[in-house]
Homo-oligomer: 360 residues x 2
């Protein structure tokens, strides 16, 4: 039985990914030199398609890392001299916070209970914090910020750098990235690609910050420090031999999404989100984990279960439908369902029908 | 026309790689959770096959990074408090040296001209150097060390850690890894896989060194520091969402190589090496770059050209045979030819015939 993955990343591959992978093999993409013109044009194509798809403002640099986890470390090395401030509301925002501490820097946080988001208006951030970190969509809990939150923070903190985690949300939800100085994601979520590639976007304020730390003789890392990444990106290359296959696939999938139209993807996301909300409302086994409707993620539906979550995931798995378990301590008491661009309306409808017809 | 890549990495995919990639897609490998039992068994299989193939001594840990370049940085963070010593004889050994300097640590080097290797007997290494770095096969020049060199260094420097770069040489050449404390490679060379995965192997002395630096409150990195990598490897996982597809493919290709027999691969390597040596001897356009026969790489043949190297590479490219240009300043005056396990005797014979019949 062919399985269908509704897990919140890694997830079902984007429906065109396999075809692109076959074409990549046919054209020898994994065998070409990462210093060749052929690869430079692949790199340029991917960046170009991402700029269109995400409406990346002029002057922002697009570079590649191996994961969003790596970006956390690189932000810590390149953009924070002494202190950062983190909005923490779940496992992933907490991990970024811990990484800064592990780098021997001072990380402050405003932490709220899982399933909620930090209320931006109430937060006091010291002037000494050089960078403010927000996780748009906390994949572990399904709690989501909004553009309004970003705009409020930007307005209040013009001097600080703002870093936005858009893992598992972009491009499914529209975000005006001019409100932040840097944002990043990995490709195994909404882009439906094999894991092993992170995308890091930052503006010139970030470049200047990294250079200022370097000029103070601080270590900002080596091959993946911002100056090296920018220098190579100018010639459509990477400092190391990168995951060329994934850079190629990302460009192709972003192009497909552009052809489909990002507005269409977002409308479908909203439709499928409404359907999943309805499913949680109607199922006797489920209830919403995120109380405030406005904060419920449109890409990662998270529900409490009245029975052992394993019974639900196993019942659906028997039908070939793979959904996510709760994260960490919620493993047995919650489920998580991805609503990514690869998941069609029909597939989400089928999943909804199956959930609502469960009799355990 | 289907191209055949004899470039020294990225190179031709291992001849079974495409089939394994198709199987991976069929079984949803890119979609499974990196925390699932399914992925844990993929991880365990890959490590097990590598241990057999490379005869990795007991007590050595096998972990995954995104590239060999990343391993350079991680060695610098985890295994060097103040000072390292590098055998430098080309671009790649030099890059590792630079990375240590960029980390703000003291890197010493013994540098010899490109095309040669450091004569181990003549090197004076201060007791203060905590780690000695050797590049077995300098891919930029085709100059190669030998097991004898490793044994000599080990004998003379028992207290220091010895780090061995085996990019573009393992498993094609037999190496007794008990002579070193850590070694590493990337998969786009002899393993014939898409780029984006590094393999890092180290013993418990390395673990202890990393822990001692951590206990001194030094920053040893974050998600990819040795203690985190070891902790996760114990349960066949990685700290971040890794390049799961490549970890799967590496296990399958290593298994294929084990089935074929590593001795067979090495015998074929020697045969093909002899053929390439003969080709360089006989061609009016070529001469050996590495003077000492013993130091000529068995996996990366490098030759000076009597005419612009581009004329040679282009003439061969017209026949679908892609060879490497010289590295860096040697771009127009040298060629490089990979002799990896995926290159069959027949393919190298064909390449040799084509080179020897060139009339430019």
């Amino acid at each position: 039985m062919k399985k269908l993955y509704f897990t919140p990343g890694p997830s079902q591959l984007y429906f065109t990914a396999e075809e692109h992978l076959k074409n990549a093999l046919k054209h020898g993409v994994p065998s070409i030199s990462h210093r060749s013109k052929e690869f430079q044009s692949i790199y340029a194509h991917t960046v170009e398609q991402l700029k269109v798809l995400l409406n990346i403002p002029d002057g922002y640099h697009v570079v590649f890392t191996s994961s969003a986890t790596e970006v956390w470390e690189r932000i810590g090395q390149n953009l924070i001299e002494n202190e950062s401030f983190h909005f923490v509301n779940g496992a992933f925002s907490e991990k970024f916070f811990s990484i800064i501490q592990n780098l021997g820097k001072s990380a402050l946080k405003k932490q709220v209970i899982e399933g909620s988001v930090v209320e931006v208006e109430t937060v006091l951030i010291p002037e000494s914090s050089e960078l403010i970190s927000i996780t748009y969509n906390e994949t572990s809990t399904g709690a989501s910020h909004s553009q309004n939150d970003l705009d409020l923070i930007r307005k209040s903190f013009q001097d600080q750098l703002i870093a936005l985690d858009v893992v598992s949300v972009t491009p499914s939800v529209e975000i005006d990235f001019s409100a932040v100085d840097t944002f990043y994601f990995s490709v195994q979520k909404c882009f439906g690609l094999p894991a092993g590639l992170g995308v890091w976007v930052f503006n010139d304020r970030c470049v200047q910050k990294a250079e200022s730390l370097m000029n103070k003789n601080m270590s900002i890392g080596t091959y993946h420090c911002i100056p090296e990444l920018v220098k190579k990106s100018m010639i459509n290359q990477t400092p190391e031999t990168p995951n060329m296959l994934n850079i190629y696939l990302l460009g192709r999938v972003a192009e497909d999404m552009n052809k489909k139209g990002v507005q269409q993807i977002r409308q479908e996301t909203n439709y499928k989100h409404a359907l999943l909300q309805h499913t949680i409302n109607e199922s006797p086994y489920l209830s919403h984990f995120v109380e405030k409707e406005n904060n419920r993620s449109r890409t990662t539906a998270v529900a409490n279960t009245t029975i052992d979550a394993k019974l639900l995931t196993e019942a659906l798995a028997k039908k070939g439908l793979v959904i996510g378990s709760g994260y960490g301590t919620f493993k047995n008491s919650q489920i998580r369902i991805a609503n990514f661009p690869t998941h069609s309306k029909e597939q989400i409808e089928m999943l909804s029908d199956q959930i609502l017809s469960l009799n355990i």
